[in-house]
Amino acid sequence: MRLIFRWLRENLFSTWYNTLLTVLVIWFLWVAFSGLFQWAVRDAVWSGGAAACQQARQLAQAEGRSWGACWTVIPENLKLFLAGTYPAGELWRIWVCVYISAAMLGLSAGVWRGLVRDVVVALGAAALVLLVLPFSWTERLWMFGIVLALVVPLGLRWVARSRIPRVRWILGGGWLALPILVVWLIGGGGPLPKVESTQWGGLMLTVLLAVIGIVASFPLGVLLALGRQSTLPIVRWFSILYIEIVRGVPLITVIFMASLMLPLFLPGHLRIDQALRAMIAFTLFTAAYIAENVRGGLQSISRGQIEAAQALGLSHWLTTLFIVLPQALRAVIPANVGQFISLFKDTSLVFVAALLDLFNIGRSILANPQWLGTDREVLLFVAFVYWVFTYAMAHLSRRLETILGVGER
């Protein structure tokens, strides 16, 4: 208690003008945020469906005061927010995907130290926090399962490490196979009933588009950057042409072309799935930007590094692989993560391909007469979810920089 008083005195009330400033700022904050507090917390409706909101609003109107937020729109539409119009009976498939990914993460955290363990801890904590929120007990059970899926393989890591040789290679292969497995599980095929990608939606679609876009665009971007520096004229000219054309076109046009124009050019029997087309569009678009970032990194490597590698007898490719690329890619982590963050948010442009991601599901909920007038609640929630994901990405990128920067300067 005394410590708090001391802190207050030293930081907020040290002189008469600081005291004045403190009082003014508190008054300003009160004016600015009391309305928000009344709306978001005091008068807010937290449960009871659309009817409860209507009642509260009518009551407030009758008494002539402002009404509060209708937060109940979020849990009532949670399934839409998370998975869009995905058939309810098949929702377990998405859970399985989440579980497999969680278990893979847990295993990887056991095998690789450092960053992956951070991810696991962060995700585990997030899942635990979700448990506290007002979800149904079955939903809580699902979420508790995520925590287990993350933590149990972590405990098994010694087994994995000692018994199976080449466990890292197996896990690495597992990660490569994961996107294919996930797309198959969600989209169906074979024994699983097919779910058209027009029914995929919500956060699931946002994450899927972003993750596949990131995973596919990164290697493509690196190749383009190397291609741009190649001594083979055809490779170089192709890379430059590609990068400059794609960078000169707005993303929305690329998606539009992929979803509407492409089918006109391709022969009729060759139909590419709508979501797949969007993924390809995001990948091709982002790759051009990644390529330019990486090129900047390649140019930052000093001549001496390359000469030292050459003097040791390393071939051009070994030099690129072991000396140039690792340093170049590390130098451009911030720029690339920035690109990935904007890709994550840009996935909301898939509405031009008639797909409903998190943001557009929000808009479609607002179009429902039952939830008329809940724009602020829905948009705040959607913005909050975007922020959580992008902040996590930014945080991980900073951690990655520290870990990879070991002993540097």
Partner: protein, 246 residues
């Protein structure tokens, strides 16, 4: 004495219009230690960089251990495997540990087993006196230690020739000795060495021969004793008076 391992005949090199090397002819025998000195811009650095083709010569002939340096990339890589090089600015790989710096080329170029390469690396690091730093990163070491790692890295390829391009010029005075000691030991072990340096004490003590460069030409070459006592050319005398009595 023994066989000639480096033969240069009338080597010329231009940077654009600038004629850097104007007909360098010399030979180096196996096990010989040659010190090259001369004013800056005299082409001495460019000359030793042509020996492992970090710079391309445009006229004349360079024959290393019986193989002539041509455009053939296979020849160049084969020759680079036999020539170790130590740079003024160390050029260690900052993203790799000391041990990884030393083992990289033996594993990927010599196709040595990882365990063998690591044993060899640890021996070499012990030889240059920094075995205990093997798992640190270059930035965590002092300049003298970094340069010794660079020497160990070059030695790990078990080269027949070692080139040193002003290895102590970027070092604080108190670190110069530790690097020169390593080079002395290396010279005594019978390594063929070409060293560009301004450390005249080292040259007098270790070199079998001193070559003086000026304006892209070899002005004078002689044994250290004769070189310091009886310099033949005015240019050499001027250089020596400047470098010895500054």
């Amino acid at each position: 004495m023994s066989e000639e391992i480096i033969i240069c005949r009338d080597v010329h090199k231009w940077f654009g219009d600038f004629h850097v090397l104007r007909g360098v002819t010399t030979t180096v025998r196996k096990g010989e230690v040659v010190v090259i000195c001369g004013p800056s811009g005299s082409g001495k650095s460019t000359f030793i960089r042509t020996l492992n083709r970090l710079e391309e010569h445009q006229r004349g002939q360079i024959i290393i251990d019986g193989i002539e340096l041509t455009h053939d990339i296979k020849n160049i890589e084969a020759i680079r495997r036999e020539i170790g090089m130590v740079f003024q600015s160390f050029n260690l790989f900052p993203h790799l540990t000391v041990l990884q710096n030393v083992t990289l080329a033996p594993i990927w170029v010599r196709k040595m087993k990882r365990s063998e390469a690591e044993d060899l690396a640890m021996q070499l690091l012990a030889r240059v006196g920094i075995a205990e730093q093997a798992h640190k990163y270059p930035a965590q070491l002092s300049g003298g230690q970094q340069q010794r790692v660079a020497i160990a890295r070059a030695l790990a390829m078990q080269p027949k020739i070692m080139l040193f391009d002003e290895p102590t010029s970027a070092l604080d005075p108190e670190m110069i000795k530790e690097v020169l000691d390593v080079m002395r030991e290396l010279a005594r072990s019978g390594m063929t060495m070409i060293v560009i340096t301004h450390e005249m004490g080292f040259a007098r003590e270790v070199a079998d021969r001193i070559i003086f460069f000026d304006q892209g030409r070899i002005v004078e070459e002689n044994t250290p004793d004769e070189f310091f006592k009886n310099p033949q050319h005015e240019r050499t005398k001027l250089f020596l008076s400047q470098i010895l009595h500054h």
